[in-house]
């Protein structure tokens, strides 16, 4: 696959959950390329989580409904591919790590996926150790996950998922249960993963202030439709994203108020201070 082929191609995707009358996704067309970090944002109920589930196969394999269109990931058509095979391409991190950690010790939990794939034990050992090192949790290897702090649990969940070396990592509101300090640290980690393992990242988040610095593309959903799909600064400078349920960082609001809302719109205090200093000199 050449690098200008999309890694993920969502074509005319529509979906209605079984027993409901409303399309939660409505003719969604999206292409995502390798190594992008894509933020999916929108109102509660706009279809964000549904879109993520359509990418890892939970839809249509686990959630029944009216499914139209197609999702192709790294050459595999999701609707025709078993979830176990998709899991090797697409790693999914839940909002609440308790939903995906369940073994007795951290290292057993991380090894779980690899064991299921019948990877030889010495290789598993090596992979697990390497991953624990890269996530800074080696010292927690033998601890029971339920004793860990939220931030630590989140790292264990991530470790378990990236042990499978997926090409794509999906994070569903990963920071909402974390305090900003830990959240900030987790976001740095995600950025690092993309560098280190060449992963493509999709994140659903409501709050932009912590995540904006690493995002390469922003997709905004409104009632199941894609309304914006562009570089974050391009969208923020033109659009009042608050109308779509997205919380604009204070700095962005201030920049727009002061007429600094162009393609170079500052997105954090540092770039804002710099911009102001330039303006006054």
């Amino acid at each position: 696959m050449t690098s200008d082929e999309p890694l993920i191609r969502v074509k005319d995707l529509s979906f209605k959950y079984l027993g409901t009358t409303r399309r939660v996704l409505d003719s969604v067309n999206i292409e995502i390329f390798p190594k992008e970090i894509v933020l999916v944002a929108g109102h509660s109920g706009s279809g964000k989580s549904t879109l993520l589930r359509a990418l890892n196969g939970l839809i249509p394999h686990h959630h029944a409904g009216d499914y139209e269109g197609s999702v192709v990931i790294d050459g595999l058509t999701v609707a025709n591919t078993a979830m176990s095979e998709l899991a090797r391409k697409v790693g999914y991190i839940f909002q609440n790590p308790d939903n995906q950690i369940f073994m007795f010790t951290v290292e057993r939990d991380i090894a779980f996926g690899l064991e299921n794939l019948r990877v030889p034990p010495p290789e598993i050992r090596k992979s697990v150790d390497t991953i624990m090192d890269s996530l800074g949790i080696r010292h927690l290897a033998l601890r029971p996950p339920h004793e860990l702090s939220d931030g630590q649990k989140q790292r264990v969940a991530i470790a378990g998922v990236i042990a499978m070396r997926p090409k794509i990592l999906i994070l569903d509101e990963p920071t909402s249960l974390l305090d900003p300090f830990t959240a900030s640290s987790m976001i740095g980690l995600v950025s690092d993963l993309r560098e280190r393992f060449g992963m493509t990242i999709l994140i659903v988040e409501h709050r932009l202030d912590l995540i904006l610095r690493i995002v390469t593309r922003m997709i905004i959903l409104d009632r199941g439709r894609v309304v914006f799909n562009d570089a974050p600064r391009a969208i923020l400078s033109e659009v009042d994203v608050g109308r779509y349920g997205v919380t604009e960082p204070a700095i962005v609001r201030l920049a727009k108020l002061m007429g600094l809302g162009d393609n170079n719109i500052p997105i954090d205090p540092g770039s804002m201070a710099h911009r102001l200093e330039l303006a006054s000199s």
Binding site: G42, H43, D150, E173, D179, F181, V246, L257
Partner: protein
Amino acid sequence: MGEDSTTAEHEVKSSASTTIFSTFGKKDTKEIEIVKFDSVDYSHPSGVAALVNVSLSITRGEFVAVLGTNGAGKSTLVRHINGLLKPTHGTVSVFGESTRERTSAFLSRGVGMVFQNANNQLFAQTVRQELEFALKNFGFDRQTIQDRVEWALNTFSLKEYVDKPPMELSGGEKKRLCIALVLAWDPEILILDEPTVGQDYEQKALLGQIIMKLLGEGKTVMVVTHDVEFIWPLQPRVILMSQGRIIADGSSQEILGNPAVLSKGDVLPPQLVELSRLLGWKNYYPKDVFEAESRIIEQRYNIRVPDRKET
């Protein structure tokens, strides 16, 4: 609010008519101490110390934010106010009475708490029943219950879900329902535990408005939160916790405006504070973008913009 014994029920039902809360409300309201922690320690049954020597006093009508990392003791602290937890040592007094003397069911009439995890608070078959439950328990009459439920459904945009099972709602909607059901019984003190998690921009704006409205009505509001960006414009009193202790207690300007203090609690400052410090501003940090804009223009043109607050 989970007590099942008939004495507790009786206590709660009679509480709707003559209670320390209603008499409390009729006193002259200047400077009434509504919550007091006196050298409180709390240890979990497992032995882990969750609160260490906590003392604080909250005046009626105050707006207080409790900040700190996960595990700092924030939720443990507020659970002492509605009696879900009782101190291991020391005393917690609410409305002038020690919480040891009262059940959590009784205290809940005056202290409404919205849990961090909505799933822990919702259990009825339909949204309507969820909203009605506490009102029935507290002995409100039929008409009042109907009125309060209508109010809640409208204010929180829940009308379309009225006959649906709460579990079918999205995470953000469940949160909204929890806030609605607690406000429906109109407690004197409202405690919100991480109310902005999973909420989109408009829901947060609504929440901010509701908080300001409640404060305007003389209610006391406490918010446990990580979301410094949400509370900064509201400028509450800030209690910063770390490892079971209160490490700072002051105004938003004093605490959220002080990165050295914040870092002791592993809390990041709001963006406008960071910007203020980068631009060399001291004394007063603008609470919203309009104040920030005024300050920037002032600084740039060396003029004084009227009505700017200075401490």
